[in-house]
């Protein structure tokens, strides 16, 4: 059995796949990769099923020793990776020789970089998924972020090394956006015109205290009409909720499953992976679109991801 030894864990490195969907009645949110597009593409580059478990690194990457070697690919943001000192590019399969160490540093672009390994990261699945739910300490590797000295097992089924890369045009079309497209939230009409204007007209900065549960935003405060009584209800992934203070919060992959704040908008499916690449202090804007447009954008993205031409061999 091949392994990965964690020499340095990085800031927050966790095992993630596409999450555990279907446990809302137990209060469990899906978790899973913050940038699912990068995870899916990275897995395809190493010949895995696109939902195989990989390592998600956040802002600062770690150092990983491969005693038996492996076939890997890095996807998402550029963390300045080197393999025994030689630079390693993103979005391509790489043969790691036995005893080589992969080192990553601080991000040079977005918030997250994925280390995908042929065979996947092998952990005991919880409710059908390998993903870590950091805030409740469930799933993944012992329910927590990796630490120095951890030894991860690589799953079986890795084929021989095959050189694979990504189509440059496709990569461009999948690149993360800073203008997030949203549809109207279920309480959108609770927010009067000045708040709508502030929300869609202004820029918001991602606050430091943002995580996989939610991204707090700083910008023009917005407010629902007074006298509205909100009853706690189910909240969708990407919901933009507005607490009493008026600074919006985007609910993300480790979100609470229900909530009692009104929601002005919701990030569309096709832009959720962009949220996963937002760093603290990034400036974003919101653009409102219709549900029909959101559906077409998702269909376009999925067509691109499913396309034979996405991966070059």
């Amino acid at each position: 059995m091949s392994t990965i030894e964690v020499d340095a864990p990085g800031l927050l490195t966790t095992v993630q796949d596409l999450g555990r969907e279907g446990y809302g009645p137990m209060g469990i949110s899906p978790s899973g990769a913050a940038d699912a597009v990068s995870l899916r593409v990275g897995n395809r580059l190493v010949g895995n099923a696109e939902g195989a478990a990989a390592l998600e690194m956040t802002l600062v990457g770690g150092a990983f020793l491969f005693p038996q070697g492996a076939v890997i690919a890095l996807s998402g943001s550029d963390f300045g990776a080197t393999l025994d000192g030689a630079a390693v590019g993103l979005w391509a399969s790489v043969q790691v020789q036995p005893g080589q160490t992969l080192r990553l540093g601080a991000t040079r672009s977005g918030a997250r970089c994925y280390l995908c390994v042929a065979g996947g990261i092998a952990v005991e699945p919880l409710l059908g998924s390998a993903s870590t739910h950091v805030l409740s300490g469930l799933g993944g590797f012992e329910g927590r972020a990796l630490r120095r000295g951890d030894v991860l097992r690589i799953g079986p089924g890795a084929g021989p090394f095959q050189k694979r890369g990504i189509d440059a045009k496709a990569l461009e079309r999948l690149s993360p956006r800073k203008v997030l497209r949203v549809t109207a939230g279920p309480q959108s009409d609770w927010f009067p015109e000045p708040s709508q204007h502030a929300f869609y007209g202004g820029a918001y900065r991602v606050a430091e205290e943002s995580n996989r549960m939610g991204l707090r935003l700083d910008g023009a405060p917005i407010a629902a009409e007074s006298g509205r009584e909100m009853i706690t209800e189910g909240v969708p992934l990407g919901a933009v909720q507005v607490p009493a203070g008026g600074q919006p919060i985007i609910l993300f992959v480790e979100q609470q499953t229900t909530g009692g704040y009104p929601k002005i908008a919701n990030v569309i499916c096709a832009d959720l992976h962009s949220v996963g690449q937002l760093r603290p202090r990034d400036e974003i804007r919101f653009e409102r679109i219709e549900f029909e447009t959101a559906r077409s954008l998702l269909r376009e993205q999925e067509t691109l991801l499913a396309s034979e031409k996405l991966i070059r061999e």
Binding site: Y23, L135, I231, E233, L237, K263, N266, C269, A294
Partner: protein
């Protein structure tokens, strides 16, 4: 004939991959029953493309695969389900007893809750432990059950400033709700006691101690009983 439940229901797209079904704009036992029945019906006869369900007090959020299902298609299918809600038979609810050590370091807000209501802590404990509660839904965090049925005499607003860390097993009050924190998390509910039981554990079927629709009673225990149960 259209059932009453179907008449109550209102649809609201929540995102490009989810739809909310509201049963009225207030929390009523009837709305809660509709949520539970629709949940059970969707669990026993899943709709193709539906990926997740988030029940709450008087609504159900339905998440679906936006590539294979549209809001209007889902609504059309749901109208049929809603028309059949009256025929859904719910099994008699389970009764779960939760032992609680009230007050002291386990319930740092008990004294204040009692004072706010001009009663003694003993009276507040007796009131909390003599009521039967209903699990409206699980939400917020894995295994966190929202319990209805708190006596009016104990209804207390949340803390002005939430605690940064609430110990797992803490029993809290917020407004007319009571509940038990499954994990050590931040929280703003007023803490009146703690249970040694694990509300969520991965090594048992269902994982959560409580499920939607359950009835719950709290039983006061001593420090010694708490210690014994905790190590059991």
């Amino acid at each position: 004939m259209r059932s009453r439940a179907a008449g109550l229901a209102r649809f609201q797209p929540a995102s490009d991959q989810s739809l909310l079904v509201y049963f009225g704009e207030t929390i009523t036992p009837e709305a809660r029953e509709c949520v539970l029945k629709l949940l059970r019906l969707l669990e026993s006869e899943p709709i193709r493309g539906v990926r997740n369900l988030h029940p709450a007090y008087s609504s159900l959020l339905i998440k679906f695969d936006a590539l294979t299902l549209r809001h209007d298609e889902l609504q059309a299918t749901l109208r049929d389900y809603l028309g059949r809600l009256d025929s859904v038979q719910l099994p008699p609810p389970r009764l779960v007893e939760i032992p609680v050590c009230y007050g002291g370091e386990f319930g740092p807000d008990l004294q204040q809750v009692a004072e706010l209501h001009h009663v003694t802590p003993e009276w507040a404990i007796e009131a909390h432990a003599s009521a039967t509660y209903t699990v409206c839904f699980l939400g917020f965090a894995p295994g966190f059950a929202y319990l209805a049925g708190l006596p009016d005499a104990l209804a207390t607003p949340r803390l002005g400033t939430p605690r940064r860390r609430v110990p797992a097993g803490s029993v809290g009050i917020a407004g007319h709700q009571t509940g038990v924190y499954p994990f050590s998390t931040p929280g703003g509910w007023r803490l009146i006691g703690q249970t040694p039981l694990k509300m969520f554990r991965t090594d048992r079927p269902g994982m959560c101690l409580l499920a939607i629709g359950d009835r719950v009673r709290f039983a006061p225990i001593s420090h010694e009983q708490f210690a014994a149960l905790e190590s059991a």
